[in-house]
Amino acid sequence: MRRWIWLSVVVAFAIAYPLLLSSPFQQRLGALVLLYAIAASAWNIVGGYAGQVSVGHVVFFGCGAYAAMGAYAKFGLSPLFGIPGGIVLAVGLAAIVGVPTLRLSGHYFSMATIAVAETMRLIVTNTEWLGAAVGLSGPTVPRNIFDLSFLSALPYYYLFLAILSITLAITWWMTNSRMGFYLRAIKDSERAARSLGAPASRTKLYAYMLSAALTSVAGALYAMMFGFVDPESGLGILISVKILIMAALGGAGLLFGPLVGAAILVPLEEISNSWLGGKGAGLTFVVYGAIIVLIARFQPGGLLSLLTRRSRSKVDTGAGYAP
């Protein structure tokens, strides 16, 4: 019951936010929070639930971003039409990359994903057709509404909110389905899960592909909002880390963890940059870094774990099952 009350408060706030804080910068901040929440929630499917810590998720982000900008720059289409292409690209890449890498354990998987992402970034940096280091830009002047190039952040905000809701719904559905159960089991003991008939590789691969698809949507939206992508901003490893950090900060493996993480980190980053960035002494990152360190130090399970721990139902295990 408490859950539902909380949920409705959050939803009501999310819908009303742009009306409550209506300056263009605040609205854009809200939209960015949602955008990063989409990416971090997508990452959460494989990084949180399946326990496969991908540090190279930016490749899928890049698939979306490049597909959207490419649709415009190469074919004169609305970037919107790049989204399906981006999804196909991301899912295909996830399948190719996932088969060999998902069998790797722990750190090796993380490193392999970094290697894949860096390889892609370097390849794109050296590919003239994809704009090389210069990158690709979207329509500078919107031709019609489908170019999704708005002055106000309001349309972005509600678009992102809708897509975030879909992402969370998919995640929720997944965690409550067989796939979600299998993922959790595989995370604990792949060997046991397989002995019980859970097709470990396939399940992980599906999760990876699903996560890749959603991440690519985030990437496409990102590129559309900023009207630009280059290898650094579309495929740079820092974006992966940022996504991961948000999920971890809020609580990985929890439905709303990534949203909480994004809602804290994005404003923190933008506001500390706005206040301190101009001084040029690097103070922004001193503050930003210190806050992350403090959260990790005192709430290593993520902020949301504070709430959930308390609400975990109490069970009486009594004296076991013996007579």
Binding site: S177, F181, Y182, R184, D188, S189, R191, S195, Y321
Partner: protein, 255 residues
């Protein structure tokens, strides 16, 4: 023939943990597998279930060659097992652990839950359904392993020391449970160091030593075999198995 293994060998480097072992299992069997520690019993199990890839030899299930099948495929065919070193899903409740097994035969959460609860009832763990699995001790974990395996609705169930850590009374209850499982039409292979279990359950016994089969036969035949006594049982257990009373070990309690 339900399950057949032909000439299984498993080598770790130059060391052969299982050396040319064969076994056939008929519908309705309870095969007991005994042997000294490190004889290769678990390794043999792992080759049957696909956990390990045998160095050579073939495994047949219902006349299908399953040597190259993955563990999950074999589970799908009806081959279930428990682990000697319990592989509990620590982050889940007892019920959820069993649901993972039940999901093999149904994709629906509700249905899986119903089946899992039924299995827990059967193994006498209903009261613990909502308990976190990590709170179980070793014996509890072992019983959970049986429940999970049962939930996959197997045709053959391989139990690797599933009763280790139970006291005498609990062993008796567990024997009843296994009988009950057997009666429901499941064929069993059991590895156990508790002779009472082997004596009262197994229809046939196979004895492993240094990766090789050294004896087979009825429980009585095997436990009176001098080679088995020398390699495995020791005099005390042999006597106990033969119906003798336990001898004093540590000089008895102080007066």
């Amino acid at each position: 023939m339900l399950l057949e293994a032909r000439g299984i060998t498993k080598a770790f480097g130059s060391f052969k943990a299982v050396d040319d072992a064969s076994v056939t299992l008929e519908q309705g069997d309870i095969l007991g597998l005994i042997g000294p520690n490190g004889a290769g019993k678990s390794t043999f199990f792992n080759c049957l279930t696909g956990d390990l890839k045998a160095t050579s030899g073939r495994v047949l299930f219902e006349a299908t060659d399953i040597t190259d099948f993955t563990p999950e495929q074999r589970a799908g065919l009806g081959l279930a097992r428990t682990f000697q070193v319990p592989q509990t899903f620590e982050g889940m409740t007892v019920l959820e652990n069993v649901m993972i097994g039940a999901f093999l035969r149904t994709a629906h959460r509700k249905e899986a839950e119903t089946r899992a609860r039924a299995v827990l009832e059967r193994v006498g763990m209903s009261r613990l359904a909502e308990a976190p699995a990590r709170s179980l001790g070793t014996p509890g974990r072992k019983r959970l392993e049986i429940a999970r395996a049962l939930a996959t609705e197997p045709k053959v169930l391989l139990l690797d020391e599933a009763m280790a850590g139970l006291n005498a009374h609990e062993v008796r209850l567990a024997i009843d449970l296994v009988r009950d499982i057997h009666r429901s039409g499941i064929t069993l292979v059991i590895v156990e160091h508790i002779m009472e279990v082997i004596m009262s359950l197994a229809s046939r016994v196979m004895v492993f030593h240094q990766g090789k089969e050294i004896a087979r036969g009825s429980p009585q035949e095997v436990t009176s075999n001098p080679a088995v006594i020398a390699a495995y049982l020791g005099t005390r257990a042999a006597k106990a198995a033969a119906g003798h009373t336990p001898v004093e070990l540590m000089g008895g309690p102080d007066p």
